[in-house]
């Protein structure tokens, strides 16, 4: 069933949320010193990306997804600036076609693959996942994507492939946030091969049935719903199969605070803040925080990946 003739999961639960534009988008830019200017989000010329052909996915959470505005105006994507609205403000003109991904390392089919070569053979699914940021806020996001493992198998990894490493585009002309050394560019992430092949791990190419908005990591990004959001590397240009554990950006930046696994775990606090509870975006000013779930609620599916591993040490 394609998107043309069915009702998508989110349309039942949050159609009004989805259709109502947030008031603050109309906010005029009142400039009264830097701190004040930052409080009014100026309206940016924004065209919604084109719709994709997708099918339903039975595993979606039935929690109400966040609105399009929440999802596309509040996120971390330091390549476009470090404030939450910066990606929305600064990524609108980012051009993502043509797009090439270099595949290398321990596999039999390395090479440069165009966006179309990567995505075309796969059926795109609407997967509504919980999304938990390491900063202790969370959303529910209707991603569009397909299992990463299905893609990786096409590159025929060999038996030395124990890990998969990813890199984001490095292009300071197109990604203004990279002009300052906030992190060591390009952004890097990695998974064990078992994590990468897990059916919940997806390569995502859109949200809300549409192509990925630039500010969300266009044209393709990783989504690993049981890990903190920063593991979901955006605007991927390199995939490498490796024998040794790859280095990852936040771990390189502060290894005491961000481990390689970075599984959502309410019992292991960030050194500077608690991970026991989270603030659900969209719940409003007076809503209480909610308890964070082990593996972000996906423990039944993924806990076996970490059997025997001390999750306090392997955070």
């Amino acid at each position: 069933m394609t998107s043309k003739n069915r009702i998508r999961a989110w349309e039942i639960t949050s159609e009004s949320n989805y259709l109502n534009r947030r008031d603050f988008l109309r906010g005029s830019g009142i400039a009264l010193g830097g701190a004040l200017a930052a409080t009014a989000l100026p309206r940016v010329a924004e065209a919604r990306p084109p719709e994709l052909e997708t099918v339903a996915w039975p595993g979606s959470t039935d929690e109400a997804p966040n609105s399009w505005e929440d999802i596309t105006t509040y996120n971390n994507f330091y390549e476009f600036g470090t404030a939450k609205e910066d990606p929305y403000r600064n990524a609108q003109d980012f051009v993502t076609r043509p797009w090439t991904v270099r595949v290398s390392g321990e596999c039999d089919r390395p090479g440069d693959y165009a966006y179309e070569d990567i995505v075309k053979p796969h059926t795109l699914e609407d997967r509504v996942y919980r999304h938990r940021c390491v900063e202790a806020w969370s959303m529910v996001v209707p991603w569009v994507g397909f299992p990463l493992g299905d893609l990786l198998k096409r590159f025929e990894p060999n038996s030395n492939a124990k890990y998969v490493a990813f890199k984001t585009l490095y292009d300071p002309d197109r990604m203004p946030g990279q002009r300052r050394p906030v992190l060591r560019w390009p952004y890097r992430e990695g998974l064990t091969i078992e994590e990468a092949m897990h059916p919940l791990t997806i390569l995502s190419v859109g949200v809300y049935g549409r192509e990925m908005p630039n500010q969300k990591g266009a044209p393709m990004r990783l989504v690993v719903p049981w890990k903190y959001g920063f593991k979901g590397i955006k605007s991927i240009v390199e995939i490498e199969f490796t024998q040794r554990r790859p280095r990852t950006s936040w771990n390189m930046s502060a290894s005491r605070e961000y481990g390689f696994y970075s599984n959502v775990n309410p019992e292991v606090d960030h050194p500077r803040w608690s991970q026991a509870r989270e603030r659900r975006i969209g719940a409003g000013l007076f809503a209480p925080k909610q308890p964070t779930l082990m593996f972000n609620g996906y423990g039944e599916e993924v806990a076996h990946l970490y059997a025997g591993l001390d999750l306090r040490k392997n955070y």
Binding site: T39, T82, R272
Partner: protein, 207 residues
Amino acid sequence: MKAKHVRLLKVPVFGLSLIPLAILVAEILGLWGLSLGTNPVEALIHFTGTWGLNFLLITLAITPLRRLTGQAWLVRFRRMFGLFAYFYLVLHFLSYAGIDQRFALGFILEDIADRPYITLGFTAFLMLSALALTSTRGMVRRLGPRWKKLHRLVYPAAILGVWHYYWLVKADLLEPLLYAAGLALLLGMRAWWRWRQRRAAASSSPA
């Protein structure tokens, strides 16, 4: 400037200092197209914290400004700015304790004990509370020379406040470092003047 004029000038300065509060109220109520944005709790805490710090630096700028310009009347505004700093920091603390933590004492105490940046911020808040409570004319009189000593707490409180900001940022340290630079300038000027004064006193005293 005459005392009468200072009194008159206090009215618009008081009004200007309330503008951040007016904007905050407008954002909460959704007036004039303003809003607290996608994460209103975080926005509220950051806004009030930023303005507390801004007013703290304005307060600390009065003495150097007076010295550089020779305008003695500037000191008449110092208490007002200091109390505005405290006012926005009370809102900051209430936003955290009341709205973010919903007055859950267990979580708040755990934060103060276990999260270094909250430990720092809370310590600074306690210091400034002591200063606000002793800011009245009566207290100045009653405490005499001890009042001046006590109110030197504003220096460590400001340092802890900027440090608190520095420690909560994940990776982009630009803004907290700008505040640190501003504070270093304001405190550095005082240290420099003090050092020169001491040297002058030493060289003018008989050998």
